[in-house]
């Protein structure tokens, strides 16, 4: 496993604020990993994302992305490697057509025209939006807009894709489609794409390889989704959602039922209940 992002004792405070948004944050994300960052509103999750893209510069500590230290000098190298998709798809469109929009980032970077056309097609193909290439972005559904936003980022061939609450404004169908898309991208691109999803959505976080919990500017927990989501009390303490199967286990325990201690998915708990009830 090769680290692609390393933070060493990073602290950042917004101007006019006495309290740092992030405090002494040290962590490593490996090449090809899909990491979910969870934490309540104001915990510092989005600040973390902005530091990775050098939209913000750390007050203290050091950030390296693919062996490049995040400094003003290296800003553009960093931004070429780190692509971001934000919450509101409507704030991210500039082009008159879907294809124009995907081309925009490359135009800015002076990619030759032939190359650009190939890359636009490939990126739209990747997110299954090719049939919409000539459509107006404003007329797409929320989920389709986010797919185009991802295509625009992929066209720049980043090493890291950051989804900053990118599913928050979508309806349940749009949300599921987005998660499925990230699964597909990971399956295609393997270790060439590292994904960081900042999210409140349990399904999205549970899809990741690893979950990190940020609370009041500090990294308080990191582990497999199964480990992090099994601790309902801790999740609540951090103001986070508890998966349904874990909530049900708690309720059964309150009713005097002995339930397994380890983390169970919905399917896992259904199977356990089925077996337990069948043997009665």
């Amino acid at each position: 496993m090769t680290p692609i992002i390393s933070l060493s004792h990073v602290t950042y405070a917004y101007p006019n604020s006495d309290v740092p948004a992030l405090r002494d944050l040290s962590l490593t994300i490996n090449k090809g990993e899909w990491v979910a960052i969870i934490g309540h509103n104001g915990s510092g999750k989005s600040t973390f994302a902005k530091l990775l893209n050098y939209l913000l510069a750390p007050d203290e500590g050091e950030i390296t992305v693919n062996d490049v230290v995040a400094t003003e000098e290296n800003m553009w190298t960093i931004r070429d490697m780190v692509g971001m998709v934000f919450q509101n798809p409507d704030n991210q469109f500039v082009g008159a057509t879907v294809a124009d929009d995907v081309a925009f980032g490359m135009e800015n970077r002076g990619v030759p025209r032939d190359e650009m056309i190939t890359r636009v097609d490939a990126a739209l193909e990747e997110v299954q939006m090719m049939p919409f290439a000539d459509r107006e972005p404003a007329r797409l559904s929320g989920g389709q807009k986010q797919r185009v936003a991802i295509a625009s980022v992929l066209a720049l061939q980043p090493k890291i894709l950051i989804l900053d609450e990118a599913t928050a404004m979508l309806d349940p169908t749009g949300r599921r489609e987005m998660i499925a898309l990230v699964h597909e991208l990971k399956a295609h691109m393997g270790d060439d794409l590292t994904v960081i999803s900042i999210t409140h959505d349990i399904d999205e976080a549970a899809s990741a390889d690893r979950v990190m919990v940020i609370n009041d500017g500090e990294l308080v927990e990191t582990g497999l989704p199964a480990e992090v989501f099994a601790n309902a009390d801790q999740l609540r303490r951090f103001g986070l959602a508890v998966p349904f199967a874990e909530q049900l286990k708690e309720q059964l325990r309150l009713r005097g039922i002995e339930v397994p201690n380890e983390y169970l998915t919905t399917e896992g708990l259904v199977t356990w209940l089925w077996q337990s009830i069948s043997t009665k």
Partner: protein
């Protein structure tokens, strides 16, 4: 004020009589019971939001009529006639914090009551009471609303609506983008308010948990019209229909359905308590022969 709402054969066309005419709603007939919590569900683009725009007289029906209390709204109604009615309606859009504009928190919340003719003192009293309701402490009253956190801004914006003491409160995905705790707090605030003041609440949402937990009545939109309405238990009872409409069901119901596939049948499960009660009975060997 009486705030029962009735849609009678309402149709709405965007840009009618132009080449750009697009149908928004057709044959919409349903009722929103007074003093109850009604949830409106349906896919993106199903017509939910277009319907809501009729409730505040933001648009007029192209055909049919909307009755709200004793006000009848048709294509011929002058928008000006609706001003009196609007004073009784509070509308919370998605991301309401985008509508904050005043220099201080207190002034922002006072704007609504003053706009509808309240005196300075009355507006301030209403604003302070509303801010208290949404748990914004007095030391923030003189701050700029733009210096607050996202969650605080949302609550100040909602206080602005509550301060007008609406008889009808319309909420369009009010918890979008908040963390789970913030979502819970806000939903508790709305249900408390509904019970305490006996107002009519209309909630537009994709979250079926809210529907199961808070709603007395549900209206389902699809392709610009109402396809079903009734109590949550009735709506969620017809599995085949829900599946066909690709509508989500509450997590407890989903769980019960997964158990049913394995041959364990439970009855009328909408929330986690009902689910846990029935499962605990089964696990304790109390066989249920209903």
């Amino acid at each position: 004020m009486v705030m029962a709402i009735n849609f009678d054969q309402v149709g709405f066309t965007y840009q009618p009589n132009t080449p750009f005419a697009t149908p928004g709603l057709h044959d919409v007939s349903f009722e929103i019971p007074e003093g109850k919590f009604t949830a409106v569900i349906g896919h993106t683009g199903s017509g939910k939001s277009t319907m809501v725009q009729h409730l505040d007289g933001l648009v007029l029906p192209t055909t049919g009529k909307v009755t709200m209390g004793n006000q009848v709204v048709t294509a011929e109604t002058k928008l000006k006639e609706l001003n009196e009615m609007r004073a009784h309606i509070g509308l919370v859009f998605q991301f309401p914090e985008a509508q904050l504009f005043e220099q201080t928190v207190l002034k922002d919340v006072m704007f609504g009551p003053k706009n509808f003719g309240a005196s300075e003192e009355d507006a301030q009293a209403a604003a302070e009471a509303a801010l208290k309701k949404v748990a914004i402490s007095p030391d923030l009253y003189e701050r700029s609303p733009f210096e607050l956190s996202g969650g605080q801004m949302r609550r100040v914006a909602i206080a602005g609506v509550i301060a007008m003491a609406p008889d009808l409160l319309i909420l369009d995905e009010p918890t979008a983008g908040l963390d789970p705790q913030g979502q819970r707090e806000l939903m508790t605030l709305f249900t408390d308010l509904q019970k305490e003041r006996q107002i009519t609440v209309v909630l537009i949402t994709h979250q079926m948990e809210y529907v199961a937990q808070y709603a007395d009545h549900v209206v389902v939109f699809e392709h610009g019209t109402v396809v079903k309405s009734g109590a949550p238990a009735t709506i969620f009872a017809d599995e085949e229909w829900l599946h066909e409409k690709q509508l989500d069901v509450p997590a407890a119901k989903q769980f019960a359905d997964a158990l049913a596939e394995k041959g364990i049948q439970l009855h009328n499960v909408l929330d986690i308590d009902q689910l846990a009660d029935q499962l605990a009975a089964r696990l304790n060997g109390e066989v249920d022969h209903v």
